[in-house]
């Protein structure tokens, strides 16, 4: 009787602790991703934002569109050879699938346009802005406004912002536009930094690195296959903030890029080295900054 009772108790206790071990293990998961703030038009915090997860695309109604957009942003050069005149992709500069603050994210893009662009002294909508990238950063031809491709790219960007109400934006900076002008660029030092920290991927002559299909793994930073002089990246004030937070990648344990943060002087020096290298011309440069002086770091 006593023995029977004890064994029953032991049995129950044993199964309970085994069950608890399995149960607790299944809840031992990643901590919640830190949230970004959502602010309204007045700058008041009204909610939280976490970039949607890759797997969530599959359950979206327009999954096909979003996926097509994602592909086009990742493999622009291969998928749109008629529109891309060099070896670059949108996501050569827009890091981590457009989800990374300070890495030119797409998170607020859909809500931020139409927007006044100093370079054209006009209000541009998102389609015009994307086509600006095709003509400058990708040294190519614009996509038709109503093409499936243009629609798909914007569908991907809209997916990133799917939980934002109109007028809201995520409280992040697209780039760390620090005051480049307060540094004296030293392109000689920049060349040394380039050799040590950039050339292993982008090539000693800025030629980039291709895969077995001839597509670029690492984009060319100058030369015919690189962005033209009309691109933002050809300007020191745009390149240095990008480089500061996003290059080199794959050198630390920090997600998502394995990034480190360069000192502002390092970012300025190395950018002063590569931005001024030979690269394709931009014939429509004559229409930029109409009626206002070109900024000092413009290539024209």
């Amino acid at each position: 009787m006593n023995k029977g009772f004890i064994s029953v108790v032991l049995l129950i206790a044993g199964s309970a602790s085994a069950a608890w071990a399995m149960y607790s293990n299944s809840f031992y998961d990643a901590p919640p991703t830190p949230a970004l703030e959502v602010v309204n038009a007045d700058g008041e915090v009204v909610g939280e934002y976490r970039a949607p997860l890759a797997r969530d695309i599959l359950s979206e109604e327009n999954a096909e569109d979003i996926i097509y957009g994602m592909r086009l942003l990742n493999e622009t050069s291969r998928l749109l050879p008629d529109n891309v005149g060099n070896g670059l992709n949108c996501n050569s500069c827009h890091m981590a699938q457009g989800k990374r603050p300070l890495g030119a994210p797409y998170i607020n893009t859909v809500g931020d346009y139409p927007k006044f662009m100093p370079r054209s002294q006009a209000v541009l909508d998102l389609t015009q802005r994307i086509n600006g990238c095709f003509r400058r950063s990708m040294n190519g031809e614009p996509l038709p406004d109503d093409s499936a491709e243009m629609h798909a790219m914007q569908a991907y960007m809209a997916w990133l912002a799917k939980d934002l109400e109109p007028g809201q934006r995520v409280n992040i900076e697209n780039m760390d536009y620090f005051k480049v002008g307060q540094y004296t660029p030293d392109p000689v030092r920049g060349e040394r930094i380039y050799s040590q920290q950039c050339a292993a991927c982008h090539g000693q002559n800025g030629e980039g690195m291709k895969d077995q299909f001839g597509d670029y793994i690492f984009p060319a930073l100058w030369g015919d296959e690189s962005f033209n002089i009309g691109a933002g990246m050809a300007r020191l004030s745009r390149a240095a903030p990008f480089v500061k937070h996003n290059m080199p990648l794959g050198v630390s344990l920090h997600a998502p890029l394995g990034q480190i943060e360069l000192s502002e002087q390092d970012a300025v020096d190395v950018s002063a080295y590569f931005t001024v290298k030979p690269r394709p011309d931009f014939p429509d440069k004559i229409f930029d900054w109409p009626g206002v002086p070109n900024p000092p770091d413009s290539r024209y």
Binding site: M22, N25, S26, Y28, D29, A30, P31, T33, L53, A54, R55, I57, L58, I67, Y68, M70, R71, N74, E75, N91, A96, Q97, S195, Q196, Q197, A199, A200, C201, M209, D211, Q212, F213, I217, F218, P248, G250, V251, S252, L253, H254, A255, P256, L257, G258, Q259
Partner: protein
């Protein structure tokens, strides 16, 4: 009652006998050398040789904490019972080995016994060092005594709780698993292969990580015996040290030139060292002479498959490259790969040569035990710095991805591009998360103001 008293008394007597016996073991089982040679510790040629042997033996990797001073100890190693810390082996007389005679040094390195007759934990690979030649130990002694900078840093106590922390039972482990042994060249192997075997079994102590361990935490084989256990792959601190035998899941897909290149530079066109192996390359194998590396590669290639294992790796045909390039992201694993991994490892799973390792045909990806693949994905990993490449690349840790996301994407990779391997479950990921969270802390004394100039 009488019987109980009798049992207690017998138990006590038995315990005392075992205790006394264990205490006596070091004196007769691993005594100090009786007529130690006179070692000229100031002989520059001997010191230079000793520096090389100390690198082959990779003393610095374990005896240096990350960010700490070389050979000053403090590196934490996780055991099932708690963390133990490597010791200060600089020639500091109070906290290091400055007062060791040559006989003390020889006994510690080859027999695992301290001058005070305490048995060292087998984390010190004396079972491997045991076969090192006298002249090598003598040279290492000269190097440590004359060329290593003395550092005053007290050793850190282990976190193993009492009574498991008692050291005397370790002597019994020595008696069972650390019998004296000499290197036996195999007449069926070439002189080069035997030289490689001598290094691999001995100073380079590859088996300490790559040989599976038995019930007593002993290496199941210390040399290539008929069991095929030697270097057959083992898990340590959540890293899978893969099989180094010439078998499908081992080094069959590696040429001898690949092995040499990997040990010399920490990477090949398709893979890279990470985890503890990155430290091995950085501190040790990159400095090996070419003949030593070639001998080791020749020896590893001569190791027959473990009985029961496939001799060759048979990849399936690659449908993944076309699937991804065609945009067929029909599963969570595929779309997570596209968003989190493809920018570096690419649609063709080939990565970028010497920058980002390939996943297609990478023997860590299809290893029978996926621990290393899981841990490097979750916690990240670094390639070693060597003089052969300007940059050492790193993989960021994807700790923030959920167990389900990681399991899905790793199964996609493990079965992509012709790879095939056992399934990884979210529970496997949870288990690794616990290991990563409980990684041992290393002990580095806080920098003192005097350290700043």
């Amino acid at each position: 009652m009488k019987a109980v008293k009798y049992l207690v008394a017998m138990g006590l007597i038995g315990f005392l006998l075992i205790f006394a016996f264990a205490k006596s073991v070091p004196y007769w089982f691993a005594p100090k050398m009786e007529n130690p040679p006179q070692v000229d510790i100031h002989n520059p040629a001997l010191i230079a040789k000793g520096e090389y042997y100390a690198r082959v033996a990779d003393c610095v990797a374990c005896h240096t904490a990350p960010g700490g001073k070389p050979f000053a100890g403090g590196l934490g190693m996780q055991t099932p019972l708690g963390a133990i810390y490597s010791t200060n082996i600089t020639p500091d007389p109070t906290t290091g080995i400055g007062n060791y005679s040559y006989a003390d040094f020889e006994r510690a390195v080859r027999r695992g016994v301290r001058p005070d007759h305490t048995a060292l934990y087998p984390a010190m690979p004396f079972v491997s060092y045991m076969i090192a030649k006298d002249e090598e130990i003598e040279a290492m002694y000269a190097y440590f005594m004359s060329a290593v900078e003395p550092v005053q840093q007290a050793n850190q106590a282990s976190t193993i709780p009492w009574p498991a922390s008692m050291r005397w039972p370790v002597s019994l482990w020595h008696l069972m698993y650390a019998q004296p042994r000499e290197f036996q060249p195999n007449p069926n192997r070439t002189a080069q292969e035997n030289h490689g075997a001598y290094l691999v079994e001995g100073l380079a102590h590859c088996g300490a990580c790559h040989t599976p361990r038995g019930i007593g935490f002993q290496e199941k084989a210390l040399y290539d015996d008929t069991s095929g256990n030697f270097l057959a792959g083992s898990v340590l601190e959540g890293w899978f040290a893969k099989s180094l035998r010439n078998e499908g899941v081992g080094l069959e897909t590696w040429s001898n030139a690949d092995i040499v290149e990997f040990l010399r530079t920490g990477r090949t066109d398709i893979t890279a060292a990470f985890g503890s192996m990155a430290e091995v390359v950085e501190h040790s194998t990159q400095y090996f002479t070419a003949p030593d590396l070639e001998a080791m590669a020749a020896y590893l290639s001569s190791l027959a498959p473990k009985p029961g294992r496939e001799a060759t790796w048979q990849p399936q045909s690659d449908t993944t490259t076309a699937q991804l390039r065609n945009g067929n992201f029909d599963s969570p694993g595929a779309i997570i790969y596209a968003q989190e991994c493809a920018a570096c490892h690419r649609m063709d799973g080939m990565g970028a040569p010497r920058v980002f390792p390939a996943l297609a045909g990478n023997s860590i990806v299809f290893a029978e035990d996926p621990s290393s693949m899981i841990q490097v994905t979750m916690a990240g990993g670094r390639m070693p710095h060597t003089e052969h490449d300007t940059m050492a690349f790193a993989m960021p840790g994807f700790y923030h991805l959920s167990n389900q996301d990681l399991a899905d994407v790793l199964n996609f990779i493990r079965n992509g591009w012709g790879n095939h391997g056992s399934e990884i479950t979210p529970r496997d990921i949870a288990r690794m998360r616990k290991i990563v969270d409980n990684a041992p802390q290393h002990f580095v004394p806080p920098a003192q103001e005097a350290d700043y100039e």
